[in-house]
Symmetry: C2
Subunit: 460 residues, 2 copies
């Protein structure tokens, strides 16, 4: 593969400059990156005459690690745009829970996850975390597509079409893990829905199992003010306090959202090695709040980025999500200017936005890999790592001129510029064409779901 290459050296701090190599080539063997060489030395080191050498020239493109979407509900892509104007709790109670009760089935999850994977591959995501019902169906869709995933074994107390109760969620989940755990591209985590929807006993059990099995635990935490208020009223404590008491905090713990954080919580997150997954677009759309990413990074917390489900986003586009994370870190938002302009400290106005393009990109690649516990394998282009990478075309009108390729990717690139995607050395998107998924069949299936769901919504 020949192109300018953006590497991420995982030992570096996230606030310094990336390794950006110009006119270099990535050498892949089977599922791994085996070399990174100047283009000028390709023909010496890998002569075309050797039958096992294949050279792909990607022209004026950037090679970079594939995006890691660290929080997603893939199958909910079938509900993209069903309702856009409610805040989180109303949206769940009035729209999502009733629709899930009516429609979630094996077929819904399998076909919805297929659609989501197609969309993610077409926008450069090579690995995603999923948190949804029927993890067997999601695993099947992941395996067939050849994408990498961490399948969250969803746990809730109430009866769903997947399981009778939390106990049943856990035993069915563990069976799914047994069935699929031999596959290289699929990892599993426990995914208790939230502190408010899962009992203390269940959370304790999951912490024990998570330690025993050495698998991650991902949860929605401090997503919106209502969650905190309800907990304060019912239990006289913030959900975070309960999570701390139950010993959830650890380097195996992934917290999604975290829009409501006070300073001592940020310290505890940092000290425990807990990861935070920032989902900016969903948090804005559902008026949940804004995750204090800059404070978290300053405290040394690993921050990853997730799209959340397409029902609250309304897409699974990590490029756009990273851009939103960078915009949302701007001091234009976090400093309070209005009406107070004459007492402004001018020093606050330098180096904007607060998150640099590179920090955003790092969070969307290595940050996710670290959160999911696979940063030894993916998240950066390094010799010995898995060949999970993408090619972004920088030759178009929209991309030119290119003074700084990293800036270009974060501030000016849209998903259609992702031309190629490789996972574990296999090309899954070849010049915008999916190689393992049947796009027209996926669209046909999705349209059938839309018809059913639209009819039901009209009948209410």
């Amino acid at each position: 593969m020949t192109s300018p290459i953006y590497l991420t050296n995982e030992t570096r701090q996230s606030n310094i400059q990336p390794d950006l190599l110009i006119d270099h080539a990535l050498v892949i063997s089977k599922d791994k990156i085996v070399d990174v060489i100047p283009q000028s030395s390709i023909h010496n080191l890998y002569p075309k005459t050797e039958s096992n050498v294949e050279i792909t020239n990607l022209g004026q493109s950037l090679l970079m690690p594939g995006f890691v979407n660290a929080h997603c509900h893939a199958a909910m892509t079938l509900l993209r745009g069903v309702n856009d104007n409610l805040s989180l709790q109303d949206w769940l109670d009035q729209v999502i829970y009733p629709l899930e009760q009516k429609f979630v089935s094996d077929e819904f999850v399998y076909q919805g996850t297929q659609h989501a994977i197609a969309e993610m591959l077409r926008s450069g995501t090579t690995c995603f975390q999923d948190m949804y019902f029927m993890p067997d169906q999601a695993s099947k869709a992941v395996h067939e597509a050849g994408i990498r995933a961490n399948i969250g074994l969803m746990v809730v107390e109430n009866k769903t079409s997947w399981a009778d109760d939390a106990e049943d969620c856990i035993s069915k989940g563990l069976k799914v893990r047994d069935d699929f755990k031999q596959l290289d591209l699929i990892d599993f985590s426990f995914a208790p829905h939230a502190i408010y929807s899962v009992s203390e006993q269940t959370l304790e059990k999951l912490v024990m199992l998570s330690n025993e099995l050495a698998i991650n635990l991902q949860i929605h935490l401090h997503e919106c003010p209502t969650e905190i208020n309800d907990s304060l009223q019912k239990h006289k404590q913030r959900p975070f306090e309960l999570a701390t008491k139950l010993a959830l905090l650890s380097p195996q713990f992934n917290t999604a959202h975290m829009t409501q954080l006070i300073d001592n919580e940020i310290e505890e997150i940092a000290q425990s090695g807990t990861h935070v997954i920032h989902c900016p677009q969903s948090n804005l759309k559902l008026a949940s709040g804004v995750c204090p990413v800059v404070k978290l990074l300053d405290a040394g917390v690993n921050v990853a980025i997730g799209t959340d489900g397409a029902a609250s986003n309304n897409d699974l586009d990590m490029l756009s999500e990273i851009q939103s994370a960078v915009w949302l870190s701007s001091r234009a938002i976090h400093d309070k200017f209005e009406g107070e302009v004459n007492i402004l400290e001018e020093t606050h106005l330098n180096n904007q936005p607060s998150l640099t393009a590179y920090q955003g990109l790092y969070a969307g690649t290595m940050g996710g890999a670290k959160a999911l516990g696979i940063s030894d394998k993916v998240g950066s282009l390094e010799i010995g790592k898995q060949a999970d990478f993408i090619s972004i075309d920088l030759s178009s009108i929209e991309a030119q001129p290119v003074y700084d390729p990293i800036s270009q990717v974060v501030y000016s690139t849209s998903r259609d510029q992702v031309t190629h995607v490789w996972v574990a050395g296999k090309c899954l998107l070849d010049n915008r064409q999916l190689t393992t998924l049947n796009e027209s069949l996926i669209i046909k299936n999705t349209r059938q779901w839309q018809k059913k769901i639209s009819s039901y919504l009209k009948s209410l």
Copy 2:
């Protein structure tokens, strides 16, 4: 043209539902929309046998008014991404002004504007306001491309490569207007750069000329806190107060940015019919602040959307700009949650984000048309109006399922889904191909500028 169609009836309030017609066709004759009919009646009303009838079937697409980019510095596209990490005043003083002094020429403006127009057409913009030097070169590029534009006649006091002083800016600008004013697609406005860079005398003269000639006046106003602070220190008044004293406020007055506004200013804006142009991405990137769009709309102010120049954005993509405007209106940002969660008023958390998808789309089409004084001609699809419209493909993986086409356009669509663009009945983008511009020549020219500018930056 046959497709679902999004119309905007300009007499409607911007906070109500759009006219969305399914399975309709738009009938165009020469430069105008002459009918909007159900697809089922096409063949009766316009039989194929008549030689002058041409039917274009756009499949599963949405037809909507083209975007009106109400604030842009087109030629600055050549500086896309030269520097991303400074706040407004440092960015201007340390990066932009020196580069402009060194490089701005007839060729720079002509070729940069061509590049910008290509990018805007490829993302669905059919009309833009421009504020830059060498308006003759911008006008030439606009005329050749066939896009619609309002060319701002830039006025500054200091000597530039365009003019010796403000007086010279005005006389040269008026000559450009004389040379091009007979063209249907080009309007002109006065574009004094800012209150701080143009004298009171000059502003008074421009108000007089603007009234006499019945042309608009666009200015950067209250862009960032520094602008207010400096004015308070030097003149003991906010720039807005001076604008009011000089009688700038009127329905012909366009104010770009306006991130720093207090309540009585919002009232005066509303009462005077002054338009506000919201440039969310540039304001975030330069840490300028956030325009209080919801307050402005509530007060009855017309709000338009602009990308600003690509040097501070870093693209000219109105779809992404509208999406940012909607995200940025979220109460997640404007309500202060942190640390105060237990005294939150829950009533604040409904109906999020505060700006609906439709309001965002309206601001990006009719809002811009109103600001530029051409809402009788463009901004909506109505019989008798100019045929300035675009087709957005909703058949792809990224667009499906479609429960609400307006939501889809704002929350899930990227610029590559814009397949066709018409301006005054002429197709300027035909299935992603520009019909009036030479894309490869534009890219070639831009790369030459990049080389020159990069060398210069390295030599510093």
